[in-house]
Symmetry: C2
Subunit: 315 residues, 2 copies
């Protein structure tokens, strides 16, 4: 990937370049629907020990961008589907994302104390409960798909997509590769290795959100391919932006420690490409993501806005 | 549950009461099929980091009783189904069981160094990889169901059963309740609490094995109910026997530390009921499990033998 600097979004920036408002009107309304659906999905029966439920809800209902659920709903809508049918898949995606944050924050993994401005799950509830909350959420995601996705064919397709995206060749594999990169010979680390880590660690689940939404809407293969490519582009763009924010962001806005990557000498896009080149490559990916939406006759403004948000954000 | 001592299996005991041979001829043959299927199911693509695959296979292919897969296959067969169609579910059950062992052995959980005569996963591969191996196996179980169970309705039903049995109201919830019991006021702990912990921690997955096998064979509701009850009985019997073996077994045969429960003053059946009463209650459960099989016209010898094995074993 060799890209010249591009800056295509001047019009979307406010005067303060670090505070870009890009979400169009329909999205906040869906956000409240997503929050309600997640709340409903995590009110367990009395068979769940109360402290385990509390620990799961502490992390699942802690806000966050809800990017993956939003993408699943938008993907479903742009293919002409009913977004309410994609809501279980949207919730399952957020459960998987949340479990991965709980486990990644553990002392044996990234050892983080702060997440979304609050103590991480294991700091709040202890390591054992945090491990079980993660395991429980991961399992509950598949329970939710099997119970709430109406059509069995869609339920199986979503289970398949989610398991691939979050499993040993997807997110879990990416986390392992990331851990190994920390102790690897620096000579073996390059941009390709970095992209491959992030494709699996972050990209796969974002791509999966697009695919699940499209599958539930019975998308054509052309639509599915376009939305898959959109997901791949913004997934990588999002991670480049995360790496940039670790350098340039504030702990207050991020709700977590910053400059950790530099402290730990982690393999990042800025360390490989420099700040400016990282930024421009992220912008090029956003451009490609938006181009992929051209095949859709309907209003793609929301998906365009999220593509831009993946890069132009301050947290 | 107030049961008088029963001893119904003299004829199955050998001269050495601690070395009971109960598995009839057909089962060892299936065992090799199960081992092959698990080996095949854990040969991942190159996208899985090699060390993660090694860690998963270290635990998944470490032997063990393969009780849950066997039960799924036998349940399918007794309902007239083709056991090859139940093999993916059998493998998924063993993946879930194995992930739970990896996570339960972690320092933050039961902190065990030895499992099946070898170092536990985190001792061998480090805590981070062990956590990820568990997460990966858990996810792979659902991937395997979605990919390998032919009929989408069966795949969804199995996903549903497995997620309930292993999730926050099942196995994960049971592990949380077990952890909480360790620090609870002893006054609040009684036989009912203990049974409830084990129903969730061990019983649910054994029950699930019976149900998945039956569902794949398109069992009638009477058949499904009978096999569900069989699973509930032997699940509890198995756990009582485990508690007894912790007191009476040898580390060599068990392949793990013994007398840990007593050391840690854990809530166990022997601590609540005494050794003799625990043994007789376990035997009564075996009797009930075998009674439940009466509705089946075919040969139930293998399921009867496993019911007996759940109690009469030395490891």
């Amino acid at each position: 990937m060799q890209v010249k600097p591009v800056c295509i979004f001047h019009r979307h920036r406010t005067e303060n370049e670090n505070s870009v408002h890009v979400f169009p009107a329909p999205i906040p309304e869906w956000r409240s629907q997503i929050e309600q659906a997640l709340d409903h999905a995590s009110k367990f029966s009395a068979d769940c020990p109360p402290r385990l439920q509390e620990s799961i809800r502490y992390s699942l209902l802690a806000g966050g961008k809800r990017l993956r659920p939003l993408l699943a709903l938008l993907s479903c809508e742009i293919c002409g589907g009913d977004i309410s049918r994609a809501m279980p898949a949207a919730c399952a995606l957020e459960m998987i994302h949340t479990y991965s944050l709980i486990h990644d924050d553990l002392p044996a993994m990234d050892d983080d104390d702060l997440r979304r401005g609050r103590p991480t799950n294991h700091v709040q509830f202890g390591e054992a409960t945090a491990i079980l909350a993660g395991d429980g959420l991961l399992t509950h995601a598949f329970f939710w798909l099997s119970t709430r996705v109406n059509d069995p064919k869609h339920a199986v397709a979503c289970t398949h997509e989610l398991a691939i995206a979050s499993g040993i060749t997807g997110m879990v594999g990416g986390q392992q590769a990331d851990l190994e990169a920390e102790t690897a010979d620096p000579e073996t680390l390059n941009l390709e290795v970095l992209q491959e880590i992030h494709r699996r660690k972050t990209g796969c689940l974002i791509r999966c959100a697009m695919r699940m939404g499209a599958l539930i809407a019975n998308a054509t293969s052309v639509q599915l391919d376009a939305l898959t490519y959109y997901g791949e582009c913004i997934g990588l763009a999002f991670q480049i932006a995360d790496d940039l924010l670790d350098v340039t962001g504030s702990a207050e806005k991020m709700g977590k420690q910053v400059a950790k990557d530099t402290q730990h000498k982690k393999l990042t896009f800025p360390s490989q490409l420099g700040l400016d080149e990282s930024q421009s490559q992220a912008e090029q990916l956003v451009k490609e993501a938006i181009s992929a939406l051209k095949i859709f006759p309907g209003n793609t403004a929301a998906l365009e806005a999220i593509a831009m948000y993946s890069v132009f954000r301050d947290h």
